[in-house]
Amino acid sequence: MATRTTGTRSRRKPAATAVGDRDPDLLRRIHKFMVLTRAVEDRMVAMYKGGDLLGSLYTGHWHEAISVGAASALRPDDYLAPIHRDLGAHLWRGMEPWQVMASFMGKATSPTGGRDGTLHYGRLDLNIYNLPSHIPANFPVATGMAFAAKYRGEDRVCLAFCGDGSTSRADFHESLTIASVQKLPNIFFIENNQYAYSTPLRLTSASESFAAKAAAYGMPGVKVDGTDALAVHDATAEAVARARAGEGPSLIEGVTMRMHGHAEHDPADYVLKELYEEYSKKDPVELFENVLIEAGVLDVDAAKQVREDARQYAIAARRKALADPMPDPGDIEDGVYAD
């Protein structure tokens, strides 16, 4: 059980303890989606370099433990409001890699049919909100989804992500204020990856931690190691249970590192070398794979196979997305208004 403090939890435990008596299928599924996320994003980086994409590419390297770990603590009918580092959460929910690639290519088969693009994808049929650029615009929307669940007496919850930099905005503050006084079933997850574009943490916030901001809203705030999928999963599961029980929202901070540039066009030479060094030893996908192997939940060959399957899946996705048509402009004025 996670304790509701703001101290950093989850010093790495021996694998067996960490894994405990969890469902090995769930663990393998989390692993599989983390691996798939990495494979798809690696493939997309190659596509970016090769000129397959329209504009820039935003990736979530080293965010996989957060995006998959947190999403895996939800039910499929729970609402999800992800950001640009959360491919893993999308995939976990059922978004297809080729749809995401199609979004970065402006293809007719992207979730918006090429109207929006890049990271602006989502699917309400999977209970995933499709965010606009403005960060974190998904937070107020997430309070609304949670409000609707409560309004209807459903026990659904809503998980929303934002970055460290996004915590300084109106949307963050006003959402957490409303969610806390209304006791809405929200989980607000801050992906602290040390930078907001080029802006380091010290220019973003003077608070002791991002989790500490929870005090301003009278909600629990916990800080977890964002490279540790199990720590993320557990903290989220606890917040989900709290929300489902009608006890209101929680704030979680997951600490990781943005291992690529803000987007792929950004060489990110403003990043401290030491941070790259420190985090190059903390690849969340590798770490989790090792935990599972050590705990005997996964064997080395199976792990290899998972990687190879993911690679092939990503290759096939690219092939499909490339072959997909560009949209037809004929109906571009349709749908500005709903019927």
Partner: protein, 328 residues
């Protein structure tokens, strides 16, 4: 709770319509500052908390960005929020979610976004530059929003009902000067009045006055007066700015050959610019005169009566302009 007196005020008409929609559809709720026990700054939701309870009558912290975004999220998953802004001036604090979250969402995704935003706007209450704004021009450029500006109690009811039932984000602007000054001519009908349909509220021959909101009763009064001088004014109430019923406007102008546009908002890029530009595009060869815009000066709205009266169009000025255009 509002009950229909047979001579409901503009304010009561809004309340009656909202009450009826909340009765009819359990997915409709109202959210805003002080809308609960207090019944709203102007008392539109008086009694609503007792009748519908705090689940459906939601007092919020002062957080316009937050609660507008909340409405968007709730709408996306099937509710039909009605948001009350305490004064239309404060909608500036929700400009971002309105244009970037609410307005564009359906076009981007195909998901409906049935949010109605109610806001009391306008001047003549000596409330000064940040409590008197006409806000329609901030929003009319943005694709995906509808903008509704009723000028009578009857339209206030019927158009609010349509706004709430509409699957798009709708900005419904209540002229607060009319709230207690305008009365219905009989029991309020709770039939929806379709959005996007203008109304010729007075037929005339010599000049078309295109207007909305408070301009409608002003225009009608002045038209009566000018009638005595043998000037026949046709008054078109556009009722919804977006969508705009261009056909009704243009047909009227084709008949009268002269057009004046009237609103209380400042002139520069007021909605009158769109109407004037459209009329000359669509009816150029029928025009005997340029389309004239009557609007507030390009200043903020002052507080002090002599100043405010100098800024906002006054009846004498409206009459004079109509006279000039009709006779030129």
């Amino acid at each position: 709770m509002p009950t229909d007196s047979g001579t409901a005020t503009y304010l009561e008409a809004v309340g009656l319509a909202l009450d009826a929609e909340m009765d009819r559809d359990p997915d409709v709720f109202i959210i805003g500052e002080d809308v609960g026990q207090f019944g709203g700054a102007f008392k539109v939701t008086k009694g609503f908390l007792d009748k519908f309870g705090p689940r459906r009558v939601v007092d919020t912290p002062i957080a316009e960005t937050g609660f507008t975004g909340l409405a968007a999220g709730a709408a996306l998953v099937g509710l039909r929020p009605v948001v009350e802004f305490q004064f239309a001036d404060f909608i500036s604090c929700a400009f971002d979610p309105i244009i970037n979250v609410l307005a564009r969402h359906h076009w981007r995704t195909g998901d409906p976004m049935p949010v109605t935003m109610r806001a009391p706007f306008g001047g003549r209450l000596r409330a000064g530059p940040t409590h008197s704004q006409s806000v329609e021009s901030y929003f009319a450029h943005v694709p995906g929003l509808k903008i509704v500006m009723p000028g009578t109690p009857e339209d206030a009811a019927g158009l609010l009902i349509s706004s709430i039932r509409d699957n798009n984000p709708t900005l419904y602007l209540e002229n607060k000067y009319l709230y207690r000054r305008l009365k219905a001519k009989g029991p309020i009908s709770l039939d929806p009045i379709p959005l996007g349909v203008a109304k010729v509220v007075r037929e005339g021959r010599d000049v078309t006055l295109v207007t909305y909101s408070a301009g409608v009763h002003q225009g009608l009064e002045i038209a009566e007066e000018l009638d005595k001088d043998g000037i026949s004014v046709e008054v078109v109430d556009v009722r919804t700015l977006v969508p705009l019923d261009v056909e009704t406007i243009v047909n009227s102008v084709k008949k009268t050959s002269r057009a004046v546009v009237l609103h209380e908002a400042a002139k520069r890029l007021g909605y009158g610019a769109e109407i004037a530009a459209t009329i000359q595009e669509e009816a150029f060869w029928h025009l005997d005169q340029p389309v004239v815009r009557i609007a507030a000066l390009n200043t903020p709205t002052p507080t002090s009566p002599p100043l405010e009266d100098a800024v906002i169009p006054q009846p004498a000025q409206i009459a004079e302009t109509l006279r000039k255009v009709a006779r030129a």
